[in-house]
């Protein structure tokens, strides 16, 4: 099992890179709000309700991305026993849960004026997305059950990989079960977006991605420091006991 070396432990989670990232996210958010509310045109059918696309779609994209990173991190833990990847998997799952919740919330708010319902329990896209969220909440629950770090990482990695099976199902559900979903197919891949609407949507994806990276770096560093604190304590205690034993043995030899 590879563990981080104490000399590499940062004393705080901020850095020049994260500060620049944070500024970029703030500037991007302002641009997104301005373009989303005032720049992009209304839709022929949905009028202003279409503006939810600038939050909903990027959130869904980052949900896929974050949970995919968790899946990759889980594989790397199971394969290489890499603590680095385990921390990445954990951090990305937490952020993914936030994005997935945001996706479901904005989708529900968007659904009321357009579909005439906040939710439909029989809709494959909606329900598989909810299942994905619940599986990842389950992943976080398994992570917090405690016990040996290695065993926790292994158990949660298996849960993450089970959840990852659902990722392509959620993504392709509108194609595979077109007669069981109110949800439309992807506008982006079908080329049904134009000019400023398309630009604003892509800007949303970029801003959300930068936000993900920014939070991810901080979350990873917090996780690393937590681990260092625990294992640092243990290493120190072991060193102290060895020193004690050495002193006693030296005394006994005399």
């Amino acid at each position: 099992m590879t563990t981080p070396a104490s000399s590499e432990v940062p004393v705080h989670t901020g850095s020049t890179t994260t500060r620049l990232l944070g500024i970029a996210v703030l500037v991007g958010l302002v641009a997104l709000i301005l373009l989303g509310f005032f720049g992009a045109p209304k839709d022929d059918e949905q009028a202003d309700a279409v503006r939810l696309i600038f939050v909903h779609v990027p959130s869904a994209f980052l949900t896929y991305a974050a949970f995919s990173v968790t899946a990759v991190g889980s594989v790397m833990w199971l394969w290489k026993r890499s603590v680095w990847w385990d921390l990445v998997a954990h951090g990305s799952a937490e952020i993914g849960v936030v994005f997935c919740s945001l996706t479901l919330f904005t989708g529900s708010v968007w659904g009321r004026p357009t579909w005439n319902t906040y939710w439909d329990w029989g809709d494959v896209r909606l329900v598989t997305t909810l299942i994905l969220l619940l599986l990842m909440v389950g992943y976080l629950a398994v992570r917090s059950m405690g016990g040996d770090d290695s065993a926790v990482a292994t158990r949660s990695a298996i849960v993450a990989l089970i959840a990852a099976v659902n990722l392509p199902i959620v993504n392709r559900s509108v194609e595979w079960w077109f007669d069981r979903t109110l949800h439309q197919k992807s506008s982006l891949t079908d080329g049904n977006l134009e000019d400023l609407t398309l630009f604003t949507l892509l800007l949303g994806v970029v801003v959300w991605s930068l936000f993900y990276v920014w939070v991810m770096i901080h979350r990873f560093r917090v996780g690393w420091l937590e681990r260092e604190l625990r294992f640092g304590d243990l290493d120190l205690a072991l060193a102290q006991r060895r020193a004690e034993a050495h002193t006693i043995n030296d005394g006994g030899d005399r």
Partner: protein
Amino acid sequence: MTGDLTPQEPRPARSRGGKIVPAVIAIGVATVVVGLLWNLASGSLFFYNADEAVGRRAELGDERFTLQGSPIGCSITEGFRGDDPVVAFSVSFGGEAVDIVHFGDPADLFQADVPVVLDGQWVRGDPGVGGRNPIADDGWYFASDRMRVKHDNDYINDDEYDQRLAESEAATKFAAEACSA
């Protein structure tokens, strides 16, 4: 971390509650996921397109089911039956039309050529709604009490209505023929 070498009291073991709560959450999540999958397998939203619903009318009988089709513009009539709002219209899909009587307010985005998904059942006879313009007019209507709109994924704005008509799909052609007949 300190340099204090005094033997410490062992840290208290994690309480049972600290393990039980996440375990209950994990089991609860697993149970809900199984329930949701079961619900999906039952196909509660599964809908028949208008042509399938007509083809299976005898088989469906008075069973409740979900139907999908595109409203035909010239058939839409809004009114009241007693104090209750009623919308009578016809939908088309696959070259077949179905006459609809929806009891309740229509969806906000309800309009011609934007597909709707309706819950209800086949009823034979006259619904007693005045001013109807039924396109199928075959003695049957679909009595609906829940309407959802299944809008498309096209966010390209068309300024010209004629251009929209020209670019629309088979449902609009069918509707145009039905209305002009």
